[in-house]
Point group: C2
Chain length 128, copies 2
DNA sequence: ATGGTTGCAAACAATTTGCACCAAA
DNA sequence: TTTGGTGCAAATTGTTTGCAACCAT
């Protein structure tokens, strides 16, 4: 299936399919990019309390449905868990793009359990 | 010279050689690893106010004497500016080791101005 | 003396927690 | 009806700012 089955995701992870959680996952699934909590709050028309957002996102992250992403901003971002990948962060506007490839597969072995790689530069629009 | 000339560093950057700033740079120069502000505070016997630490570190960072490092912890780290390198972060104890090599020099071109790479895994002692 | 520096108090922003209430299963 | 989920208020933590006093140059 193209878009993941939101309800299924929740049920499988042992969560209740509440309107709030469904809405959160829908946003994350629609745009596959990291979202800041306040961004999600806006997208959801402010109908969902930010405390609820934090708790839902952390719960999702604990179950591996969502992934916390640290982009060097002053707040945490969350994105739907996908295959291992990285990000390209525009140093001017903060725009984040997914970088589907990982140039370091050969390093992942031994005691290295994971790694994080972020690029900082100018995105297309800011380069113009 | 082995250890950088702290006084020289300060003067060159246009800073006054105050006891606080000398002390801060001494710690950073002694152990070439990223320090959290509260770690520096301890190392300095709490004799330097954390506000002063923040201001000094940010001032240093602005002049390129020090570099801000984001290690995925919930607080910023600072380290003496060195040649481009990365870090190895123990996912158990948080210990940070320098990784002198950068496996991505070929990617640094075009509009990519910089990148950050952190490894997470088990350090020697935690692996035992 | 003068402009960078410092400390204290207070402001801030991101995130977390306590608790009573509500709703999905 | 049982347990997870939600919102509000309040507490925490990391970091920044205002301002008066201070000291290296």
């Amino acid at each position: 299936m193209k878009q993941p089955d939101i309800r299924g995701l929740l049920k499988t992870a042992g969560f209740k399919a509440t309107p709030s959680r469904l809405a959160i996952l829908e946003v994350l699934a629609h745009e596959e990019k990291p979202f800041a909590v306040h961004e999600l709050e806006q997208r959801l028309k402010g109908k969902i309390n930010e405390v609820t957002l934090y708790r839902a996102l952390e719960a999702f992250a604990a179950k591996g449905i969502v992934r916390r992403v640290d982009l060097g901003h002053d707040h945490t971002h969350y994105e739907l868990e996908q295959k291992h990948h990285h990000h390209f962060v525009c140093i001017t506007c903060g725009e984040v793009e997914d970088i589907k490839i990982c140039p370091l597969p050969q390093i992942k072995n031994r005691t290295i359990s994971s790694h994080s790689l972020e690029f900082f530069g100018l995105c297309k629009s800011c380069t113009i």
